[in-house]
C-alpha cells in the first residue's frame, strides 16, 4: 500500500525523451531511404550508354569546398545547442542563423552544380548517370532545404520569445537531423564523387 | 411411388459420380505438372512429391493433434476452469525447434543439386531462340547450313524428342515467362538480358505452354504449342521452313513486336 509513494515514476522507460527516440528511429529509417538511392547509383555506375559521363562533369575542387561548408555547418549547429543548453539565447540565435546560412550556401552550390551539368547536357532523361545522380543528390538537397526551414523556424520562434532555455530539446532534435543530413552527404561525396 | 423412389435413388447415386468425373477432369489438363513428358518436368514432379508427402504428414499431425487437444481439454460441465498452470518446458521447446531444423535441412542437398542441374548449359543441344512479344511467341532456329535464322509459325515451337534443347529467351518489351508445364518449369523472359533454360522432351506429341508472367492486356491469351517430333521429322520440318522462308514466304512473321 505504501508502495505508491515510494516508487518514482520515470519520465520514460528508456530514459530518452519520446521525441528524441522518435528522431533516432526516423533517422534509422531514413538511412534505408538514402541507402536504396545510393545502391541504385552504384548499381548503374558505368552503365550509361551515352554521355555526358560523371568523369566529364565532376568538379571535385568545387564540390569539396561546398562539402566543407556543410561540414562546417555541423560545427555551428553544435555551438547553437551548447548555447541554449547554457541559457545563452542570443548566442544560440547567432549560431542558428550561421548554420542555416551555411546550409543555404551549400544549396546554392548544388543549384550552381546542377545548372552547370544541365548546360553540359545532363538531365534525368539523358542517361543512367543523370537519372541516379540527380535524383539522389536532389533528395539530399530536399533534406537540407527542410533542415534550413526548421532552423529558420527555430530562429523566428526564438525572436518572438517562444523558444526558451527549457526548449533545448527542440534545438537538439534539429541538430540530430542536421548532423544526419551532413553525414549522408559525406557518404554521398565519398561514394559518388570520389570513388570512381 | 416405388418407381419414383428408385428414380430418385438412381439420380442421387449418379450425382456424386457426375461430380466426381467433372472434378477429375482437371487431371486431363494439357498443362498438368503431375504428368510430365520431359526430363526436367519429371525431376520437378519428383522433387515436389518428395516434399509434399512429409509436408502432408506434418499437416495431418498438426490438424488431428489440434482436434484431439480441443476435444480432450474442452471445458466440461462443473469444471471450475482452473487447470494446472504450465508456463513452458524448455527441453520440449528446444526439441521442437531442433527437430524441424533437422527435417528441413534434409531438403538442402535436393535444392542445391536441383538448382545446379537445371542451371547448367547443356552440350550438343538444339538451340532455340524465343522472343516474347505482346502477346505472342516467336520461335527461331539457327540455320544448320549457316544461313539466316529459320522462323517457326507464330506461337508454335518444334523440337526433336530425346535431345537437350537450349532455349534462349529474349524480349524487347515487357517481362514474360516461358512455361511448358509438361516439359519444364518456367523461366522469365527479361528485357535487357538474355536468360536461358534447357529441357528434354521424352515423348513425341504436342504440348501446350503459356506465358506465366503478367504482361499486360492480353496476357491470358499468350499461349503456344510445342510440337515434339522424331529427329527425322524435325529435320525435315526445319528444312521445309527454311525453304519456304527463302522463297519469300515471310508471311509467318507478319506479327512482330514494336
Amino acid at each position: 500500500m505504501a508502495h505508491a509513494a515510494t516508487i518514482a515514476h520515470p519520465e520514460t522507460n528508456t530514459g530518452l525523451d519520446n521525441r528524441k527516440l522518435a528522431m533516432w528511429i526516423f533517422l534509422g529509417s531514413d538511412c534505408l531511404f538514402f541507402g536504396a538511392f545510393i545502391a541504385a547509383y552504384l548499381l548503374y555506375r558505368d552503365r550509361s550508354t551515352t554521355g555526358p559521363y560523371a568523369k566529364d562533369l565532376y568538379n571535385i575542387p568545387f564540390t569539396s569546398v561546398s562539402s566543407f561548408v556543410l561540414l562546417a555547418s555541423s560545427l555551428s549547429m553544435v555551438l547553437a545547442l551548447a548555447a541554449i543548453q547554457r541559457g545563452d539565447l542570443r548566442a544560440m540565435r547567432v549560431w542558428l542563423i550561421c548554420t542555416s546560412f551555411l546550409g543555404m550556401l551549400f544549396l546554392s552550390g548544388q543549384v550552381f552544380e546542377f545548372t552547370e551539368f544541365y548546360r553540359e547536357g545532363l538531365t534525368p532523361h539523358t542517361n543512367l548517370f543523370g537519372t541516379t545522380f540527380l535524383v539522389l543528390t536532389g533528395f539530399h538537397g530536399a533534406h537540407v532545404t527542410v533542415g534550413v526551414l526548421i532552423l529558420l523556424s527555430l530562429f523566428s520562434m526564438s525572436t518572438r520569445g517562444k523558444l526558451n532555455e527549457g526548449d533545448a530539446i527542440a534545438v537538439e532534435l534539429a541538430g540530430l537531423y542536421w548532423h544526419f543530413v551532413d553525414i549522408v552527404w559525406i557518404i554521398i561525396f565519398t561514394l559518388v564523387y570520389l570513388v570512381q | 411411388m416405388r418407381n419414383r423412389l428408385s428414380r430418385f435413388a438412381l439420380l442421387a447415386s449418379l450425382l456424386p459420380a457426375m461430380l466426381f468425373f467433372s472434378a477429375c477432369d482437371v487431371f486431363n489438363s494439357p498443362q498438368n505438372t503431375f504428368s510430365p513428358s520431359g526430363t526436367v518436368a519429371a525431376k520437378q514432379k519428383y522433387l515436389f512429391t518428395v516434399t509434399m508427402w512429409p509436408a502432408l504428414a506434418v499437416l495431418l499431425l498438426v490438424e488431428f493433434g489440434l482436434l484431439a487437444i480441443l476435444i480432450r481439454f474442452r471445458r466440461k460441465k462443473g469444471d471450475p476452469g482452473l487447470p494446472k498452470q504450465i508456463h513452458g518446458n524448455n527441453r520440449l521447446e528446444i526439441a521442437w525447434t531442433i527437430a524441424p531444423i533437422v527435417l528441413l535441412a534434409m531438403f538442402v542437398p535436393a535444392v542445391v543439386g536441383g538448382v545446379i542441374d537445371l542451371g547448367r548449359t547443356p552440350k550438343n543441344a538444339v538451340e532455340v531462340d524465343v522472343s516474347g512479344i505482346q502477346w505472342a511467341w516467336q520461335f527461331s532456329y539457327p540455320d544448320p547450313s549457316g544461313g539466316a535464322a529459320v522462323q517457326a509459325p507464330i506461337n508454335e515451337m518444334h523440337i526433336p524428342a530425346g535431345r537437350d534443347i537450349e532455349i534462349k529467351l529474349h524480349s524487347d518489351n515487357v517481362i514474360h515467362s516461358f512455361w511448358v508445364p509438361k516439359l519444364a518449369g518456367k523461366t522469365d523472359v527479361m528485357p535487357g538480358r538474355q536468360n536461358h533454360m534447357w529441357l528434354r522432351a521424352t515423348d513425341i506429341g504436342t504440348y501446350s505452354g503459356q506465358c506465366a508472367e503478367f504482361c499486360g492486356l492480353d496476357h491470358a491469351k499468350m499461349s503456344f504449342r510445342v510440337v515434339v517430333q522424331s529427329q527425322a521429322d524435325y529435320d525435315a520440318w526445319l528444312k521445309s521452313q527454311a525453304a519456304a522462308q527463302q522463297s519469300g514466304g515471310q508471311s509467318q512473321f507478319a506479327f512482330h513486336g514494336e
Partner: protein
C-alpha cells in the same frame, strides 16, 4: 491507499458516448471525430475504414471469381479484369490488413502497457488521416477512365507488384499507374508515421514494472511489426519514387533502352515485400497469443520462445526476398542461398504453432467465438506454412511460381492466417470497446461459414495451380479442364461473402442489444481488462504498477502447491493493487492531449500533391501550403489542456 474505480460499475454504450462527448469539450458531433487525438477513437476510425475497404476489396474478389467461374467468359473484359485484380491485391494489403492491424495497435497498445495514450497523439491522428485520404485517392482512379457506368475503369492495371517495365508510360500510358504509385507513397507516409509512434510508445510509455519481458505477446509482435514498417517502408518509397521519376519526368531507372534493368524494381519491391508479409501476419499472431491463454485458462506455453521466434521471423524476413524471383535468372548461387533461407524461416513459424498447441494442451478450453477464430488461424495458417516450405524447393518451384498454387498459398497465410486472427481479435475485444458482448450464436455461424467458404475457395486453387493454371489470366479455355474447381472456388468466395453479412448483422445487433459486458467478461489476463468497458478517455485513473507477466491474472489468482490457480478474494485483490500515480478515481485533474484540426489539415495536402502531379502543377503549391500550415499550427499550438478545466 489509492482509490480504485468500483469494478461493479456498469458502463454502457450510452455512458461511453457521453464520456467521449465530454472529452471532446467544445468539439461536437462530427467535429469531435475530425479533431480527435484519442487513440481509441482513432483506432475505431482505422478499423471502420479498413473494414469498408475490406468490403470494396471483397467485391473486387467476387467480380474476379464470377469472371473465372466458367471457361471462356466475357463478364469482365481483359482490361477490366486486369484493373480489378490489381486493385484487389493493392486494397487487401495496403488498405485492409495493414490498417486493420494499425486499428488494433491503436486500440490496444496503450491499454496493454498501462499508458493513457500513444507517445504522439497528434501524429497518430495524422497517420490515420493520411491513410484515409490515401485510400480514397487510390480508389478515385476507378472513376477517371471515362464513363464508369459503362464499365470504363481508370484504375491501375500493373498488378499489386507493379513490375517495371510494364508500368512505364510506354506500356501503361493511362494514369492508373500514376494513381497507384503516388497513392502507395502517400500510404507509406501514414504507415511510417504510425511505425515511429508505436515503437516509441512501446519502448517509452510502459507502466512502471512492465519490463520488456512482462509485455503481452501482442505488444511484442506490434513492436516487431512496427520496426519492420520503419525499415521496410523507405525501400518501397524509393522504388515508387524511381518509377514516378521515370513516368512523370522521363528518368531512366527502368528504361532498358538506356541500360536500366527491370530487376532493380523486383529486388527493391521484394526487399520491402517480404518483410511486408510478416508485417501483415505478426499482429494476428500476437492476437492469437492473447486469445488462446485466455480461453484455455493457462499461460502461453513458452512465452520466451514465442517472443524470440517472432523476433527471429522479423530478422529472417530480410533474407528471403529473392524467393519471389527464382525464375528471373539470378543464377545458381543466389537461388540456392535464398532457397535455404526460405527453408529455415519455417522453423520459427513452426515453433509458434507447437507452442500454441501446447498452450491449449492441458487447459480447460472454453469454446467462445474468439477461440474458434484463433483455432481456425492455427489450422489454416499451418497449411499456408507448409505450402511455403514446398516453395523453398527451388527447382520444383520453377513449376509452381506464378500459378494458382501460389495464390492458394498466400491466401492460406493472409486470409486463413491474418484475417482469421483479426476476426478473433474483433470478437475478443469488441466488449472492451463497446461495453457489449457480441452474439455467440451468430459469431459461430460466421466462423463456420467463413471456414467452409475459405476452404472451398482456396484449396481448389492449389489443385488448379498444380494442373498448370497461371495467375492473373482473365480467362481460360474449356478443354483445359479447370472449370469445375474454378466454379467451386467461386461458390466458396460467395460463401465467404455471406459469412461477412452475418458478421455485419451481428455487429449491429450486438451494439444495440448485446449483453452488457462489464470490465472483464473473459476473465482476462492483461491490463486492458482492469478498466471499465468502454474505457474512459484517460484509460487508467491511476497508472498501474506491474509485477509480472499476465499481471491482471496474478492479481486474481494465486497458485497452490500443484500449480493450480486459486482465486484471490476480490477485496484482497484490490488491496494488493498498487497505483503509482495517485489520482482521483473519476479522472479529474488528468491532463489529456487536446483535440486538434492541424493533423487533418496537414494530411489534406497530400491528395492535392497527388492530383497536382497527375493533372495540373497548379495544385502542387496548394498541397504544399496545406502541409506547411498544418505542420506549423501543430508545432505552435499547446499540446495539452486540462481535461476538466
Amino acid at each position: 491507499m489509492a482509490t480504485a474505480i468500483p469494478r461493479s460499475r456498469r458502463v454502457t454504450m450510452a455512458d461511453a458516448l457521453r464520456q467521449t462527448r465530454e472529452d471532446a469539450g467544445s468539439y461536437k458531433g462530427i467535429w469531435s471525430w475530425l479533431a480527435t487525438v484519442d487513440h481509441k477513437r482513432i483506432g475505431l476510425m482505422y478499423g471502420l475504414t479498413a473494414f469498408f475497404f475490406f468490403l470494396v476489396g471483397g467485391l473486387e474478389a467476387l467480380l474476379i471469381r464470377v469472371q473465372l467461374a466458367r471457361p471462356e467468359q466475357d463478364f469482365l473484359s481483359p482490361d477490366q479484369y486486369n484493373r480489378i485484380f490489381t486493385m484487389h491485391g493493392t486494397t487487401m494489403v495496403f488498405l485492409v490488413v495493414m490498417p486493420m492491424s494499425a486499428a488494433f495497435f491503436n486500440l490496444l497498445l496503450p491499454l496493454m502497457i498501462g499508458a493513457r495514450d500513444v507517445a504522439f497523439p497528434r501524429l497518430n491522428a495524422f497517420s490515420f488521416w493520411v491513410f484515409f485520404l490515401g485510400g480514397i485517392f487510390l480508389n478515385v482512379s476507378f472513376f477517371t477512365g471515362g464513363n464508369f457506368l459503362k464499365g470504363d475503369l481508370g484504375a491501375p492495371d500493373g498488378g499489386w507488384f507493379g513490375y517495371a517495365p510494364l508500368t512505364l508510360n510506354r506500356f501503361s500510358p493511362d494514369n492508373g499507374i500514376d494513381f497507384w504509385m503516388i497513392g502507395l507513397n502517400v500510404l507509406g507516409i501514414a504507415s511510417l508515421a504510425g511505425g515511429f509512434n508505436f515503437v516509441v510508445t512501446i519502448l517509452n510509455m510502459r507502466a512502471p514494472g512492465m519490463t520488456l519481458f512482462r509485455m503481452p505477446v501482442f505488444v511484442w509482435m506490434s513492436l516487431v511489426t512496427s520496426l519492420l514498417i520503419v525499415f521496410a517502408m523507405p525501400v518501397i518509397s524509393v522504388a515508387l519514387f524511381e518509377i514516378s521519376f521515370d513516368r512523370l519526368f522521363g528518368a531512366n531507372f527502368f528504361n532498358v533502352a538506356k541500360g536500366g534493368t527491370p530487376l532493380l524494381w523486383q529486388h527493391m519491391f521484394w526487399l520491402f515485400g517480404h518483410p511486408e508479409v510478416y508485417i501483415l501476419i505478426l499482429p494476428a499472431m500476437g492476437i492469437v497469443s492473447e486469445v488462446l491463454p485466455t480461453f484455455a485458462r493457462k499461460p502461453l506455453f513458452g512465452y520466451p520462445f514465442v517472443v524470440f521466434s517472432g523476433v527471429a521471423i522479423g530478422f529472417m524476413s530480410w533474407g528471403v526476398w529473392a524467393h519471389h524471383m527464382y525464375t528471373t535468372g539470378l543464377g545458381s548461387v543466389a537461388n540456392s542461398a535464398f532457397g535455404i533461407s526460405t527453408i529455415m524461416i519455417a522453423v520459427p513459424t513452426g515453433v509458434k504453432i507447437f507452442n500454441w498447441m501446447a498452450t491449449l494442451y492441458g487447459g480447460s478450453i472454453s469454446f467462445k467465438t474468439p477461440l474458434y477464430f484463433a483455432v481456425g488461424f492455427i489450422a489454416m495458417f499451418t497449411v499456408g506454412g507448409l505450402t511455403g516450405v514446398t516453395h523453398s524447393i527451388v527447382p520444383s518451384d520453377y513449376q509452381q511460381q506464378d500459378t494458382y498454387y501460389v495464390v492458394a498459398h498466400f491466401h492460406q497465410v493472409l486470409f486463413g492466417g491474418a484475417i482469421f486472427g483479426l476476426f478473433s481479435g474483433i470478437y475478443f475485444w469488441f466488449p472492451k470497446f463497446t461495453g457489449r458482448m457480441m452474439h455467440e450464436g451468430l459469431g459461430k455461424l460466421h466462423f463456420w461459414l467463413m471456414l467452409i467458404g475459405f476452404n472451398l475457395t482456396f484449396q481448389p486453387m492449389m489443385i488448379l495451380g498444380l494442373m498448370g493454371m497461371p495467375r492473373r489470366i482473365q480467362t481460360y479455355q474449356n478443354d483445359y479442364g479447370w472449370g469445375f474447381w474454378n466454379m467451386m472456388a467461386t461458390v466458396g468466395a460467395f460463401t465467404i461473402g455471406v459469412s461477412l453479412l452475418v458478421f455485419m448483422y451481428n455487429v449491429v445487433k450486438s451494439l444495440r442489444s448485446g449483453e452488457i459486458a462489464g470490465d472483464d467478461p473473459w476473465d482476462g489476463r492483461t491490463l486492458e481488462w482492469t478498466i471499465p468497458s468502454p474505457p474512459p478517455p484517460y484509460n487508467f485513473a491511476e497508472i498501474p504498477q506491474v509485477h509480472s507477466l499476465d499481471d491482471f491474472w496474478h492479481r486474481k489468482y494465486t497458485e497452490d502447491a500443484e500449480g493450480k490457480p486459486v482465486p484471490i478474494p476480490a477485496a484482497a485483490a484490490a488491496a494488493g493493487h498498487d497505483a503509482v500515480e495517485a489520482g482521483h478515481g473519476d479522472g479529474h485533474g488528468i491532463h489529456m492531449p487536446s483535440p486538434s484540426y492541424f493533423p487533418l489539415i496537414a494530411s489534406l495536402g497530400f491528395p492535392f500533391l497527388g492530383f497536382g502531379l497527375i493533372y495540373h502543377m497548379a495544385l502542387l503549391p496548394v498541397g504544399l501550403l496545406l502541409i506547411l500550415v498544418g505542420l506549423y499550427g501543430w508545432v505552435l499550438e499547446p499540446a495539452t489542456e486540462d481535461l476538466t478545466a
